[in-house]
Symmetry: D2
Subunit: 375 residues, 4 copies
């Protein structure tokens, strides 16, 4: 029996594997930071064997609430990922077990999205006449910060989409992929009509270093990118630094920042009600955005979500707050669950890459409806 | 040089092929009827050669307006279909020519949808746990009248969709395929939510005989099925007879009948404003249906379309009128263009199978929004 | 419960369907001929129900030996075809039954190959720079007689391949498809090297009329094409007439005629040992062909097969005999089983489209090895 | 303009990028070793721009002959890789340039094969009933050493295949993928027959660390694995250590070690003529292997290759020599070109992943022919 996490976004520490029925594990802390919750490893055993795991430091992870009703994700072929029965125990460890149908199985906090796939997404997308790839700068580890410009930059409206500031929230890049693919589908009348009025700037992965390193929330330097928007630095948060600079160059008329939430089993948004410049105009855009999205994708809801910020009390270091204030525009954080959407549960897969992808496609609907009203 | 139409939905008569630059043709009349407009044939020539065609009886076809601004559809591989420069001449023939990139090319009035593909659609769909195939009866030529039941028949709402009463309107079946595929996608939250409240009864091809025979509008017996709904007969219009009977058995809470329009370069609907029982309730459902569809698919519009029926003056032999009256429900004929959508033209393909398919997917949006209000 | 065969290559007569457990059937005789053995129909019933069939006239079919150890082929989706337990009873009827996993199931004598797929094969193949489509003439029913010319006609060696003279032997066209696809694969060094020395003339379906009509062996006029090679006529056997004429124009250096055999559960060839001009040269080519094919595809064997013709006693009306004599060349009939290859049985599928396709690919190996020695 | 190699198998050092028409580069030396020749990087520029490169240290690379007539490999989408006009200059730098059709382009020494794809190959293959995945141990960097066992271990013959001891020789893993896929195709009679007599042990990538690091020949510790077979160590060459141990456990009846050759534009093998135990038996196996492979895949030849070892003068640290001697069996190094096969050149792609894959499929042919004679 052998456990390994030496691969893209791998993360686990084996405490003891003496007893295959009770392999004890710890999740490794993010690079230069205290965050931890993402895990991703493979186990090699014997077909037919039952293996059991216990993540000992579950209680010390960043979002202990994230383990309640959470089911681990697993795959034999790295294509189909399914949920495994999981228990957050009384003594606050995470326990799960599985009888092996093949000798090797991968486990993860959520279906991974590799840097290879990211590069393919960027390169294949650029083949479209509608799309151009730009590199905004370099990450801490020296990777490219990739931007896809979709549509005609002379169009009046500038819509920005970023994903995966928190690298462990892989659903954000699956979601971005759905949005990108739909925008590039020239048979889709809504995409065509939207691109007649707006150009899209999409950063499908804000944190490629953290992604590769198997971090939950930090980049290579230990920065939580979504707390860096007021004063990003080239040293600690070049990803935000460069994206912010490009935003200032293009302007922003609407912004979506794609995320995953560890605790809440729902898809929801967080707006800019707490930023100084919040206004009825923005509130009305927010309301219509939510209403349209809800109407085209019932996986989205507006009942459960974060507590609203009090006026003026927004954390201005957060991307959507900073962008909303800086550009006085519609600016949303979109959250998807790591668990499932409790309103439309799927026992086999929970929330999944496929559902994230479809959500990404449907994000174009509210943008299309609002595009003329954004300013 | 050789012209042939001996295949599924083939239709052409060669008047003269002596001059490859001016091959004269006639469209063959529908079985036992006077309708004619659909054509579908292949030409075998030499790569590099330019061939020219003239359809002599274009002026005698059912919809002479259909030839204005119409571009013939062609394909070398029967997978990618493109438009060919076409002229409706001063003396009312249809002229087009093409330099051959391969020795054999297919031409058609619109991208065909074969009976083989129809059977595949039915059989592959039935594999889903959500779908069951039923056979309602036999056509005049003895083919099956295929019904797909999608969802749970105990659900309160019964939604019927029929396509291709007029067999030459192949876009109707491409559209049905899009609607069916989306309904069967269990990752699509809107489909899941809709099937939580409604069951779908879909007849993807009402007129398989006419389709195979290369008719524009008639079935094998010469009947225009969309004028048979008041008094269908087992002899002349068994397709309508059986579908109508099944509708009476299930009830109908909403009905969509999918069509193509020869003349108008737009996607539009025709409602039931002229049926006796028309009411504010129905009008309001119609208005919301149109409004939602327009908002999710800009290929749909409500400016251009048929003249409205005066109150009580609807032709009750037409499917959507008969259904609307019989079941006092939302009941629409949906029309797609043979030409293009003039609001979002695509020079290369015009209106196409892909756009019909996407339209079919988006038809679920207004149905989802209305499902609670249908009764 | 409903049985239907009104589709491409459909063939069945229902004697009685009163008892779903014992539906009695007859196979319909070929057009204008006495042959019969091919069947193809669908049954619509209820999921979970067990249906039983009895083909009453099995004993009157063309190859009664064909029913010994034969298993009926079936499919729910028309993509995956599997075998169904079948018994050739003491009183010489063919009995089989099946519990339905979906409401509709197709049954056939062998996995069908439709005229739609044939047209796709021809059209997609012609897209290759290596391939040109030609039409040699018209069948009795007015369909095109399709020829694919693969490679450079100036090359010294002319290799002819024909398939499906007997239309019910669909494995022959699956086999032709494998051969064609491999020839067109420009990454395949053997195909490239072979086309450096030879041009291929491939008729993937000699009998498209009989195929569509659901015949076992006859064309639309009732002719057994493989008995027409000495004196074909435009009226009765235009398919042979035109192919023979084209062969005379191009010359033939090697010929393969692809068939299925009803009785023998083996892949084997029949050569030209009985034609007047048979020689040691031809025998040696035959021996090497068989030896190479056996070495690259163990589905082929040379132990079981037809009795050898005595010298000079070949039936010269048969394609491979006539071609072998006329062109004094290697000329083989290749037979595949309807049942299975008893040397490498596959319980689930028996002999199949996939295995026929691979056999077609491997036919290029002996041709490559022999190409320099053919003359 | 921006150059980046921070990804799987990336390797380049930018000396100067001031002049886009003459970007000067150096290839980075392998980890802890002097080898260098593999490069892999992307350039981000402007569509339409022409960029020129000069690899300054080409003359200091491991195989200077490798640059003669070599063409750089490039791709816009990382799926289709094509050759770029390249010159090995009089002053021994490697120069190439390209007008950009999209803003971002990847360049490499040969089409890459990523660790992500490797993991997919392993995981998808294990789904087959015929295949089981085993992990033999850990590499220097802590990755798994993956073994695929294909077939039934109780079979008499044990056939071993290893690939990519030299990680920059990516064609070796493309070749292994072809061999694996064919073995797992249960419709392939040759694969089935071969697995009836032999079990395969396939290591599709012997050097996953070096592969990821962008090395040409070394593992993470700087070892040339193909010189480690006499005395591998857990510290320096665990990959060889563990594979060798497993070979001793299973025995070896035939061995193929897959490689790429930098200089020779041919596919060829190197045998064991120089090992002490070399015998007529082995020579005759070698001769038949070559003869069969040549007959089924003309990309293989036996005219050009390495000089033969004199008797007893083989380098016993090389895998195929050590295995051949240890197990007194057929044991070959198979070499594919980085350039092209000069006998069957392809201007667009040169030697490619596709041709390597097909070569892998055809390697089963000589093994099938020899399987009974291996002992
Ligand atoms: Ca582009
Ligand atoms: Ca079903
Ligand atoms: Ca061609
Ligand atoms: Ca397995």
């Amino acid at each position: 029996m052998k456990i390994n996490s030496s691969f893209d976004s791998g993360n686990i520490e084996v405490v003891s594997s003496d007893d295959p029925k009770n392999i004890t594990l710890n999740i490794v802390t993010d690079s230069n930071s205290e965050f931890k919750q993402w895990f991703h490893f493979k186990l090699h055993g014997n077909t037919g064997q039952t293996v059991g795991f216990e993540i000992l430091n579950a209680k010390d992870c960043s979002y202990v609430d994230g383990w309640e009703d959470y089911q681990v994700v697993a795959s034999y072929d790295r294509q189909y990922w399914f949920r495994v029965d999981t228990e957050f125990t009384a003594d606050k460890t995470l326990k799960f077990s599985k009888q092996l149908e093949q000798s090797t199985i991968y486990f993860a906090y959520f279906e991974p999205y590799s840097y290879e796939r990211h590069q393919n997404l960027v390169q294949v997308s650029q083949l479209s006449d509608l799309c151009e790839h730009r590199v905004l700068g370099s990450t801490v580890d020296g990777r490219d910060i990739d931007l896809l410009v979709i549509g005609d930059e002379s169009k009046e409206r500038k819509i920005w989409v970023t994903a995966r500031q928190h690298p462990g929230e892989t659903m954000a890049e699956w979601c971005a992929e759905g949005l990108i693919d739909r925008l590039l589908d020239q048979n889709d009348a809504l995409s065509r009509s939207l691109l007649d009025k707006a150009v899209f700037y999409v950063v499908p992965n804000m944190n490629v270093d953290g992604s590769y390193r198997g971090n939950l929330r930090s980049n290579a330097a230990g920065a939580n990118l979504n707390r860096e928007w007021q004063a990003p630095s080239l040293e600690k948060s070049p990803e935000v630094y460069h994206v912010r600079a490009k935003m200032k160059e293009t302007g922003v008329d609407a912004y979506l920042d794609l995320h995953g939430d560890e605790a809440l089993p729902y898809v929801f948004v967080a707006g800019t009600e707490g930023v100084p410049s919040y206004s009825d105009r923005i509130k009305s855009l927010e309301d219509e955005f939510k209403s349209v999205l809800m109407s085209v994708n019932p996986d989205f809801q507006d009942e459960f979500g974060y507590d609203k910020d009090e006026p003026g009390k927004a954390n201005m270091t957060v991307a959507n707050s900073w962008v909303g204030e800086e550009f006085n525009c519609l600016s949303y954080t979109l959250e998807m669950p790591f668990k499932d959407n409790a309103n439309l549960p799927n026992k086999e897969t929970g929330w999944s890459s496929e559902r994230s992808y479809i959500l990404g496609q449907t994000l174009l609907n509210p943008l299309y409806q609002l595009v003329d009203k954004l300013r």
